[in-house]
Amino acid sequence: MSAFYALLFTVAFLVLIIGLTKKIIQYSRVPAPLKIPVTPAPLTKGGVAIRLAKEAILFTALFRSNKWTWLFGWMFHMSLFIVLLNHLRFFIKDVPLPLVLLQNVGEYAAFTMFIGLTGLLVRRIFVARVKYISSPSDYLWLILLMIIGLTGIVMRFISHTDIIAVKEFSLGLLIFDWQALPTDFPLMVHLFLVAILMILLPFSKLLHIPGLFFAPTRNQVDNPREKRHIAPWAAELDAEKNKVQPK
């Protein structure tokens, strides 16, 4: 069983990294031939960085759009972020102080994450417009994340897992030194679904993670009159065109 999980996570890690890298390379290679920032847009690269950071951290556009979706969505994402930080301790031998301190509040993030996901699921089921646009996979993602959260909560607060052994397993993974993994049911489910999530991420709508930063509508500087913007394939067209020149 331990060997299966060790293998699973090695594969999942590779699929995630390779798949995501391939997508990011694709996104960077496909040119953006025209200036299409949604205006008002920043006039400098620094301004664009702030615009993207605000979208990534605060979900500014979503906040403007729908307060409930923002509330649940933001709650889920921020909680997930804290939960992920908390899990770093499984991969660092001597846990640094900030992570130790985070643990005190961090362990409750699983609850806010679960509440956020529940809110999103309820909205998806009961708001007719959102239901209309949902495919089975949209529900399954939410349910998968909810089960991951729930099994985490169970292990932390109800039926404790031998986390020392889990840590030895995860540290071993990093150096291909496969250690025994406790075989509690919640842990098995938890880890299996996390691996599934890692494997599916590059093939799914979870590509919104890199996608957010590659949207030309948000990542372009508003300076078309000052600086001539020309994409590679458009530049070829440009050279081919016998442009009229002043005499």
Binding site: A32, T39, A41, P42, L140, S204, K205, T217, Q245, P246
Partner: protein
């Protein structure tokens, strides 16, 4: 004409319920082969349409980052679902921006992604059939490419990009839209969207000069093809033709005259609008844009100034430098290109224009931000200048101004309902229903603040409102050009208006300001 009812004003404009298939149908008239071939399209459905469709789709995915990223990054959060004026007006769920995108995304997933190839049901992927293409044709011609959804999307997905790609793909398999293609063909053959030949245009401009002389006693010039003027004026051809557009043209003429800027229009490039944008064709946007470069060189001008036209300004501001630049032969001291409102606003700031606001006292104004100016361009040096400059010029021209509801102006503005290639009579039902949110916001200020007129800076908005206002119980001439207000208020040096104002002994300057 199609049989439909004008939507009722809603007492509380809340999110409407969905009404399945409310707007199914065949879409606007399909183009005829003769309009298509000139533009580089086949004109009829080829036998291998399926391969051609997928091939073109793959081609565009490889050429437009927007399309590739947007196909992947939608999380179906629903943020956009209540933001489209066509959804609000028609309640058809396929007019929710995400559902409109999904029409293409379903096919993208089926043929271009691992998940859709092997688990189509799970991720909602579908096979490409002729029915799918027909559905694309119908619903991608119910989007005015106004970008309101993009403002609210947490991923920045702009449905306009997908609509443009869809129309380009459809045109490549013989399903182009008649209205847009016919107009582009007129631009190539005659020089403008209306098909107004040079001779007729010259006649109109000469009449205007005479009229100005009679009304103001000042020789305001309206040149055509005059070599050696300072500026080339690019304006929508509607400005040469109909109310309220032409009143705006008169306004540009007066401002430029007062500032001593000589200008000309070009008979060859007598159209600012670029319908290549609507059909999503880079080649055609570029070909239409190139006329401007050619005209500027031929007429030896130093500046290019654009009149009031929304989509034209998007293409001019954002794309012209890319498509037809570099413009190193023009005077680099001015923005290239420059909007007429930037010219007027700058002159007002410098105190170069004398305005008698009282001329417009019979009106209480509000302003409709045109979508492509609000969300796809800028004016002036600061972000948001596209909102502030038009308002500043209106307020310099009249005493009574009120904004509409904050959720319906600036970057949250609603499209007039006729943009993006939909300003055609065969889409009248869609246009009327899509105008609902704007008409509701207008109604509110007419009732609460006594607003009598609405100004716009786009030929499509002006034409659309002229038709829509009566459907919703308003006078059709409630819609005015901003430069129409300027035209009424401006007091040109040496004009009859100046003499009239200054001739009065008591309080000569009472109602004017610099």
């Amino acid at each position: 004409m199609a049989d439909f009812e004008t939507p009722k004003f809603r007492e509380y404009p809340t999110v409407p319920l969905i009404k399945q298939d409310a707007m199914t149908g065949g879409g606007p008239f399909v183009s005829r082969a003769e309009f298509d071939t000139d533009l580089g399209y086949p004109g009829e459905l080829p036998e291998d349409w399926k391969e051609k469709t997928l091939e073109k789709m793959g081609d565009l995915l490889g050429r437009y980052r927007s399309l590739q990223v947007f196909m992947d990054s939608c999380i179906k959060c629903g943020a956009c679902t209540d933001k489209c004026h066509y959804f609000i007006g028609t309640q058809d769920p396929k007019n929710m921006p995400v559902a409109r995108q999904d029409l293409m995304r379903k096919v993208y997933r089926r043929y271009f992604t691992f998940a859709g190839k092997y688990f189509p049901k799970l991720v909602g992927a579908v096979d490409l059939t002729e029915d799918v293409l027909d559905e694309w044709y119908n619903y991608y011609h119910q989007c005015s490419q106004c970008r309101r959804c993009a403002v609210f999307c947490p991923m920045g997905i702009d449905t306009a990009e997908i609509t443009m790609a869809a129309r380009e793909i459809l045109a490549n398999v013989g399903k182009a839209q008649k209205y847009s293609n016919q107009i582009i063909q007129k631009v190539y053959k005659i020089g403008n969207n209306l098909g107004l030949p040079g001779k007729a245009l010259k006649g109109i401009l000469e009449d205007l000069e005479e009229e100005m002389e009679d009304e103001c006693g000042v020789p305001v010039k309206f040149n055509m093809d005059e070599v050696g003027c300072e500026a080339l004026l690019m304006t929508p051809s509607a400005d040469f033709f109909a109310e309220p557009h032409i009143d705006g043209l008169i306004g540009y003429g007066k401002v430029l005259h007062e500032l001593g800027i000589t200008w000309t229009v070009s008979s060859k490039a007598s159209e600012a609008a670029n319908f290549g944008l609507f059909i999503g064709s880079y080649d055609n946007i570029q070909r239409v844009s190139m006329r401007i470069r050619e005209a500027a060189i031929e007429l030896k001008v130093k500046r290019i100034i654009f009149g009031e036209c929304g989509h034209a300004w998007r293409v001019a501001y954002n794309f012209l430098n890319t498509l037809a630049g570099p413009f190193d032969f023009l005077d680099q001291n001015y923005p290239i290109p420059q909007h007429i409102l930037e010219v007027t606003y700058g002159a007002l700031q410098e105190g170069k224009l004398r305005m008698n606001k009282a001329e417009n006292d019979h009106m209480t104004m509000t302003f409709h931000d045109s979508c492509n100016i609000a969300r796809a361009s800028r004016m002036g040096d600061t972000p948001g200048g596209q909102f502030d400059i038009p308002r500043a010029v209106i307020e310099a021209s009249c005493n009574n101004y009120v904004d509409m509801d904050a959720d319906t102006i600036k970057d949250a503005t609603f499209c007039c309902g006729g943009g993006g290639g939909l300003l055609t009579d065969d889409l009248m039902e869609l246009r009327v229903k899509g105008a609902l949110p704007r008409m509701e916001a207008y109604k509110q200020v007419t009732e609460e603040s006594g607003v009598t007129n609405i100004a716009a800076i786009c030929a499509i908005c002006k034409s659309q409102f002229t038709k829509m206002l009566p459907y919703y119980g308003f006078e059709m001439d409630a819609i005015v050009s901003i430069h129409q207000l300027v035209s009424e208020a401006i007091v040109m040096t040496g004009s009859m208006q100046e003499k009239e104002l200054d001739g009065v002994e008591e309080e000569p300057e009472a109602e004017s300001e610099d």
